[in-house]
Assembly symmetry: D2
Homo-oligomer: 344 residues x 4
C-alpha cells in the first residue's frame, strides 16, 4: 500500500533528523530561550526580509491558530474565515474554546475574497444592533488553502486594503506554506507575506519536520507578551530547542524550498496523468494536494493499492478524492500512481 | 410616533406591576430561595404538567441561553441552530464565550427540520476525522422563531425522535413563548413542550414582565447543580423574589395566556390589512411579529408615523420590515397602523 | 423575626419604586439606549465630577465584576484581590469562567495594602520564569470591604501610585458604596474615586434599588466597545431603562446618600450597644455591616428573635456574626436588637 | 559550566533516539492512531496492571494538566491543589483559561494531606452559600512534588478514601514519576497509582524523551471522548507516532525505571555531600531534585562553576537552591559538584 493520504505519514527529512541527532547532547536552557531558536529565528527573519518580526516556534498548527487568535482578539471579536477553513471545521472548536466566534464566509475552491470580507465588516458596522453581533477583527486565510489552491499577490493586496479600511488583522495559516511559495503558478513569497500580513506561520510538520510551526508576527500589537500566551495554551515545549534545531536545518541550504518543490513536482506527475486521462478536479491543481473527481469504480479500484482520502460523492456515480505528496514521496511511487490512473 | 419595533418598549403589565408593589416590603431571603419563587415554580410545573421539572428564574434571554448550554455541554460539544437563531447572530458570541460552537444550519422561515439535524449528526459520526469536528450534542430551536413562525407538534415529535436517535438534547428558546402557545394556528402547548424537550424556557420580558425568563428543565442530567451555573454566569439576582413575584402574577388567572392572545389579536388586525392590501410576507404571519414586504416608498411613508424595524431590501424597489405587538399595544394603535397600510 | 442578615431582603426604596411606577407606560428603545439611562449617567458623571467618564448600568454585582475584568484584561493577565474578596470566594468562579486567575493576597479586616500589591507585582516581574506566571494587571478592592471596613484617601492614593508604577488597573467594587461614602469616619467620596480609579461601580441593589449597578469607567482603554461585553456576558437588560429610571431616582435629591446615611445610623445604634456591653468585633465597625463576637449562648439566644449571618467560631466558646442594616431597617428594629444585646 | 538547573537540558536518551531514527521512514496514519502508540499503550497498561485503562499520549505537562481537567470538570467545579502546585503557580493560568478555579491549600514540603482536602470539601458543602462557592471536584497532586518529595502509599490510600467520601477525582501529575517510583524510600509503584487514582500521567519529557506524557485514565467518566479534548486543546500531534515510538522505547527493557534510578543515584551522590558538610534542606531529599540551604557566599561560589536554580533567601545570610539530575547527568559531573560542596 502506497500512502498518499497526507503529508505527515513519515518522520523527519534526513537533514532535519541529522541535525537533531548531532545536537542531542548539547545542554541548553529550556522553553525556546536557547541559541538554536535564536539562530533559526534569525534565518527566518532574513528569509522574510523582516528584521523587526517576532518569531516564535510552536508544536502544531491548531495550537498556532488558537494561540495567535487568543493573543490578538478581545472577547467580543471574531475571525472571518472560509466555511472550509481549518479553524472552522477541523479543530474541534479550538477557537471557540478560547471564547471567539469563527465567522464563516462561503468559499470558492477554499478561498474567500476581499469583497466578501468588506461586505461582512460593513454589514456589522451598519447594523443598528451592531453591539449584539460579534465584531469581525481578523481575517484568517490558509495559503495553500484546504483545497490546495493559492492566493495571488494581487488578491492578497486587495485583502490587505480591505483589512486596513475596516481595522482587521490579516492572519495566514501556512501549515503547507512551503508548497505554496514554491508552486510554479505562485507570485507570493515569504517577503510578500511579511509585508502584507499582521501575522502568519511557516509550517514545519507538513514540510519535513517531526513537528513545529514558526509564527512570524509583524504587527506590534500582537507581539506583546506572546510567550505568556504560548505557555498558557500549552504550546511551550520544555526542550524548546528541538524546534530551533529543526527550523535551523530547514532554513539552511534552501532545504525548506527544496522540500516544497519536491512535493509539488511529485504532485505534478500525478496531476498530468489525471489531466491526460481526462478527469476533472474539484479545485485547480497547483500544489501538493490534488482533488480529482473519479468514477466510483475507478476510485474503488485505486484504493486497493493506494491510500488516499475520500472527499465524498460528486454527482451521480462520481467521487472526489485527495492525493497528498510530501518530501518523502518517491518518484517511483508518484509514477506508480500516475500509471494506475492512466490505465484506469 | 406609535412604536411597533419591539415587544419590550414599555414596563410591566399592570397586574405584574401591582404584585411587585404589594410585595415590596416583604422580607425574604435572597437569590431565588424565597417563597414567591417556590410558588411561581409550582404554578409553572402545574401548567406544564411536569411535577418533576426543575424551574429556575433568570433575568434575560441571552443569559438563559448560555447558562443552559454551559450546564449541558462538555467542552468539545456544540449546539445545532438555525443560521438565523438568536444565539448564532444576536448575542455577541455569548455561546462561544462559554467555549462552545454554534453549528449553523440553513433556515426556512426561521425553522430547521429534523432531517437537517439528522444529516448533520450523521455526517459527524461517520467522518473519519470525527474527533477533529465539534460533536453536535444539542438542538436549539426558538418557538416562535426569530421570524415569528411556529413548529407544529408533528415537527417537534420528529425532532425529538432524531434527538433520541443521536443522543442530542432538545432545547427550546421560548423568549416569545406566550405568543406561540396562544396562536390560533398552533397545536403546541406548555404540556407538549414539557414532554418533548430536555429543557426550554418561558419568556417573561416580552410577555409583560419587567424582566425574567423561567427555565424549565426536564432532563435530570441538566438539572444537577444548575444554580451554581446561574450564579457563575451572572444570572442570580440578589433580590431573586422579584422574578418569583412576576411569574406568580403571570401564572395567576391565566395572565400569561391573556397577554399572548392579546398580542396575537393586535397583530391579526395589522396582518389582515396587509393581506387585504395585497402585500406579501417574508414568513407566514402567525404570531405577534409580522414581516411584510413593502414598496420602498410605502415603507418610508409609514415610518413617519410608526416605529418599526427595517429588515433590508427584498428585490428591486421593495423592503421587508418587522412589526411587533405586545401586551401594551392598544386596539387603537393597531387599527391606526392597519388603516395606514390599507391607504398606502 | 427581624431580619438583619443582608441589605437586600426588601424590594425598592419607595422613591425608587415610585419612579418605576410613574414611568411604566413610557415607550422607549431597549438595551439602555433610552433617555432615562442617559439622564442617570449624566447625574452620576456630575456627582463624580467626571464629564468624560463612561457610565454603564448592569443588573448585578457579579456581572459587573466579570464584565469589567473581561473587558480590561488579556488572557494571560490576572487580578490581585484580597483572599476574602468577593470575586475570590463568593462568585462561583465567575472570573475564572472568563479565563482569568484571581491572585489572592492575605487580607487584614478585608483590606490589602499598596505594599502587598507592589511586592506581588515586583516578584512576578523579577522571576526568571515570569512568562510561566500569571501577569498581575489589575487590583480589585471592595469599598466597603466584605468586612464593612473602608480605605482611607491616603491608602487609595498609595495604591494608585503603586498601580501607576507597575502598570496595573485599579478597580473598586462598590456594591455597598453608598454606605462607604457616607460613613462618618470616611474621607473618600465619589469624586475621589473618579480621580483614583480606572473603573469602579456604584451599587444600587444594596442601596435601595430593585437591582442595578452603575459602572463608571475613567480609563479610555477600558471604555472601548464595553457595550459589546455587556451584551455578550448577559448583562444587557432588554428593558434597560429600568436601570436608568432607578439610578435617576437615586441620584435625585440626594437619595443615594440619604439611604447610605440611614443604614449607617441604624448600624450605629446596634454598634453602640455592642460596645457598651463590652463585646469585641472581628473588624472595625464603620459602615452598615457589623461583625461582633459573641459568646455562643448569646448568639444562640439572639438568633431566636433576629435573623443574621453566622461567621463561624472564634476561639473557644465564641462565635462571630454579621448584622446588616439597610434603607429598610427601622429605628424600632435597630433599637430592639440593641436592647437585646445590652440585656444579653 | 555543568548544568544542574533542570532535567530537560539535553535531548533524548540514546535508546529513545535510536528508536526514533530506526522508525523514521515508516509510513503510519496520523494523530496517534498508529501501531506504535497502540503498542506503547499496551506496554503501559501491562506495567500498570490496568487492562481497562485508556492511555493517551500528549506532548507536554501543562497540556496534559489542562486537558485532563477540562475533560473531567463541569464549569462550576474546581481543583484542589497545593499552593505550590504546578497548575497553581507555573502554568500562566492555563487551568483558569479553561474556566476552572484552582483551589489552593497550604503545602508542607510540596504536599497536602487528606485531612486538608476533607476539610475543604466539607466546608463548601456545609456553607449556606455553597452555590456561590466553586465546588471542589478534583484533587491534584504531583508525585514527586515540586519539592521532590513523595507521598507514601498510606497517604495516598487516605487521600483516596477522602475522595470517595466527597465525590472527588484524584489526579496525579507524574511529570517526574520515574524518579518517584524508583526512589529508595518509596513504596508507591505504577500499579498502586493505577489502583488509587482516577487519572494520572507518566512523564516522558523529564525522563529521557524528547517530549511526551502518557495520560492513564482509570475512571470511565473521564475516558469518554477524551481524544476530542486532546484535539481541541492543541495536544494532538500530527505525527502522533513519535509519542508511541518514544514510550515504546521507554517501556522496553525497563528503560523508564533505569533512567529514574540513575537520576536518583546521581542526586544521592550530591545529597550525601550536602549532609556530610552539614547543610540543611528545604524539603527531604528523596528523588532527583535537591533543595539545600547554603550560606549566600557558598551559593555564589558554586554558581561560578555549576548552573542551578535559586529558590530565594532563607533567613539572614542563607539561600535555598535547587539541583536537578537526569538521565544525562554523568557520575563525573555529580562527583564534581559533591566535591565542590564538601570543600565549600
Amino acid at each position: 500500500m502506497l500512502r498518499f493520504n497526507s503529508d505527515y505519514t513519515e518522520g523527519a527529512h534526513p537533514e532535519v533528523l541529522q541535525h537533531l541527532i548531532e545536537t542531542n547532547l548539547c545542554q541548553t536552557p529550556g522553553y525556546g530561550t536557547d541559541e538554536f531558536c535564536m539562530r533559526a529565528a534569525g534565518l527566518i527573519k532574513d528569509a522574510c526580509d523582516a528584521p523587526n518580526a517576532a518569531v516564535h516556534f510552536l508544536v502544531g498548527g491548531t495550537q498556532a491558530n488558537f494561540t495567535v487568535i487568543a493573543a490578538a482578539l478581545r472577547p467580543h471579536q471574531g475571525v472571518l474565515s472560509s466555511d472550509q477553513g481549518h479553524i472552522h471545521v477541523h479543530e474541534t472548536g479550538a477557537v471557540e474554546a478560547t471564547g471567539h466566534k469563527v465567522l464563516a464566509l462561503p468559499h470558492t475552491h477554499g478561498k474567500i475574497t476581499a469583497s466578501q470580507v468588506a461586505a461582512a465588516a460593513k454589514a456589522q458596522k451598519e447594523d443598528d444592533s451592531f453591539e449584539h453581533i460579534v465584531q469581525p477583527k481578523m481575517v484568517y486565510l490558509s495559503h495553500p488553502t484546504e483545497f490546495g489552491t493559492l492566493y495571488s499577490k494581487e488578491e492578497l493586496c486587495e485583502m490587505r486594503k480591505v483589512c486596513d479600511e475596516y481595522g482587521l488583522y490579516l492572519f495566514i495559516d501556512g501549515a503547507r506554506l512551503g508548497f505554496g511559495i514554491t508552486a510554479e503558478s505562485s507570485d507570493v513569497g515569504l517577503k510578500d507575506l511579511a509585508k502584507l500580513c499582521d501575522v502568519f506561520y511557516i509550517g514545519g510538520t507538513k514540510l519535513g519536520a517531526l513537528f513545529g510551526e514558526a509564527v512570524v508576527i509583524l504587527n506590534d500589537a500582537i507581539k506583546e507578551d506572546f510567550r505568556y500566551l504560548i505557555k498558557q495554551r500549552g504550546g511551550m515545549l520544555a526542550k524548546g530547542r528541538l524546534l530551533g534545531v529543526q527550523f535551523e536545518a530547514m532554513f539552511t541550504d534552501g532545504l525548506y524550498e527544496r522540500i516544497g518543490r519536491h512535493g509539488n513536482a511529485m504532485a505534478a506527475i500525478i496531476r498530468d496523468a489525471i489531466v491526460e486521462r481526462g478527469y476533472e478536479f474539484m479545485a485547480p491543481p497547483v500544489t501538493n494536494q490534488l482533488f480529482p473527481i473519479f468514477p466510483c469504480e475507478v476510485a474503488e479500484r485505486l484504493s486497493r493499492e493506494f491510500a488516499f482520502t475520500d472527499m465524498g460523492a460528486v454527482g451521480e456515480g462520481y467521487r472526489a478524492v485527495r492525493f497528498c505528496t510530501s518530501w518523502a514521496t518517491t518518484e517511483e511511487a508518484a509514477k506508480a500512481l500516475a500509471k494506475a490512473i492512466l490505465e484506469s
